[in-house]
């Protein structure tokens, strides 16, 4: 299924699974994200300080992992998943270290009516895994998707 294809709520298959390609999270990603967000917490920016921490080195911002997985899934899922619009429930299970390669598995787990008649809400369950297969982040997103015009 092409990411550009226009899809209506009715066309979205419940249970469909997607696997996004991997991406290695680099020091540059973390530095850029600190600059963009303004979050300079030592966890992400001070290599010397982090030597004495349980992680041993700087780790990625949780929100960087969340944002990267959205970008990765955008490469394999149709365009309706890009705006989240409705909601997000997310757990940060473990650190993403510099040099870790993350990938994303997603599944369509729900379809329900929205308060506006011409829209429906689609739920997507997502897991972010590192190169050892450990789940580092997981959660569910909800998306407003247009219904097929009558």
């Amino acid at each position: 299924m092409s990411a550009q294809e226009a899809l209506y709520f009715e066309d979205i298959p419940l249970g469909e699974e997607y696997t996004a390609p991997g991406r290695t999270v680099t020091e540059a990603d973390i530095v850029l994200f600190a600059g963009l967000s303004g979050d300079y917490n030592v966890l992400h920016t001070d290599a010397e300080h982090m030597k004495s921490s349980q992680f041993g080195e700087r780790i990625a911002h949780g929100l960087l992992g969340l944002s990267i997985q959205q970008g990765l899934l955008g490469r394999v899922m149709p365009a309706w998943m890009n705006p989240l619009l409705a909601g997000l429930k997310w757990k940060f299970r473990g650190p993403i270290r510099i040099g870790d390669t993350i990938r994303v598995q997603a599944r369509i787990t729900g379809k329900k009516d929205a308060s506006k008649l011409q829209w429906g809400i689609v739920s997507v369950e997502r897991k972010v895994l590192n190169q050892r297969g450990e789940v580092v982040q997981e959660g569910e997103t909800e998306h407003m998707v247009e219904r097929r015009p009558a």
């Binding site: 990411a3 991406r23 990603d29 850029l32 994200f33 600059g35 963009l36 967000s37 303004g38 979050d39 300079y40 917490n41 030592v42 966890l43 300080h49 004495s52 921490s53 349980q54 911002h61 949780g62 929100l63 960087l64 969340l66 944002s67 990267i68 959205q70 970008g71 990765l72 955008g74 490469r75 890009n82 705006p83 989240l84 619009l85 409705a86 909601g87 997000l88 429930k89 997310w90 757990k91 940060f92 959660g139």
Partner: protein
Amino acid sequence: MAPVLPGQRQWYFEDVEMGVPLETPGITVTEAHITLFAGVTGQGRDRDPDAVPDLLPLCLSSGLGWRVPQPPLVVLAFMGLEWQYLKPLRVGDTIRSRSRIVAKRPMKEGGVVIEERSIVNQDGESVQSGRLTLLVARRPVP
């Protein structure tokens, strides 16, 4: 781990006061933010060039939290998030973050703090809001 940083006052779990409202300064969301965000996250640009990606305001609010007079919380880990999208944002909108701590629970290492956060636009309308669960360090014993 109980990080001690030289030359900076910090807020530990013991210092967290429940229910005290905190409001950050604002930041105007620009074309440059969207371009940088698209680059670092790999998210394709929206067909509407002035649309702000849904996750960007939350990311910007994490930086706004450092620009308040209160010393920063010693956050050991970001544990979870429940978030709702109420209104889309456009390039040129100015956002600020309003928050307060609604729950705290001591743990073996540090303590869990739940923060209620709302991102408001220049008209004072809430555009995104939700709850963040954070693991915060305890004050180190001297």
